[in-house]
Subunit: 162 residues, 2 copies
Amino acid sequence: MPSTAIPAFNPELDLSLERVVPMAPSLVWAAWTQPQHVVHWFTPAPWQTVDCEIDLRPGGIFRTTMRSPEGQDNDHTGCYLEVVENQRLVWTDALGPGYRPANNPFVTASITLQPEGSGTRYTALVQHKDAATRQQHEAMGFTHGWSTALDQLVAYMQGLRA
Amino acid sequence: MPSTAIPAFNPELDLSLERVVPMAPSLVWAAWTQPQHVVHWFTPAPWQTVDCEIDLRPGGIFRTTMRSPEGQDNDHTGCYLEVVENQRLVWTDALGPGYRPANNPFVTASITLQPEGSGTRYTALVQHKDAATRQQHEAMGFTHGWSTALDQLVAYMQGLRA
């Protein structure tokens, strides 16, 4: 395949999170791409991720079931667009598995991992169709939510190595 | 990249067209992927395609401007998902360039080309989000439209070689 069109950050439409985390890209990659890891960190407590299905290839499913503190389950289904091991993962909920158009498109998300010293520069880019949807996502707590989830990822993966 | 999740035909949700055309896959591929060719065949007459923009890579734009017999122009913008030269082209209008979610998702389309004798087995698969959208597309004249456009592709590309 030719090189892909890397989305550029658009401050009116997108949200992003960039941090350096103290572990190799391969560990962050494992946390994002193996269901048995995803359920441990993906949703900021007291929410939980209670189920996860991954078919790690373009067109493959990325599905999570999140449980609210009140015990209500919500399924969220998306489709991978790019899978470059230890480097870049892109998926969207505008498409379902096999690229079928979906009913309620909300985001396309890209996770980029770059080695930095003994750690990883972690960049999340979340694209929306318009400024109103971006604003809605920000009001839902994007920054706190994604940042807390990343803290949980780091603590969980460090615990595995201990 | 790992192998992709090839969409399977679902008769309740999808439309398809399969034919053998008398030219090599590389010529059909050129017709689909070079704007100077696309404008000559893409829209069944008396409609015309008067402009076309192509960035031929995953995440790249596929935009056409169609002119009605009354002279009204309609832009249609999509995003490539898979680009495998001379073999497979997948795009969707559920996403815009750079994978950004779009406002009015309608289809994901896959064109598959396989050599057959001196010709090409041409398979188009068009996926919709639900049965109502599939039915709407069929009522708009999918079968006649895509078949006529393919006739135009063949006549135009044969003319280039004459």
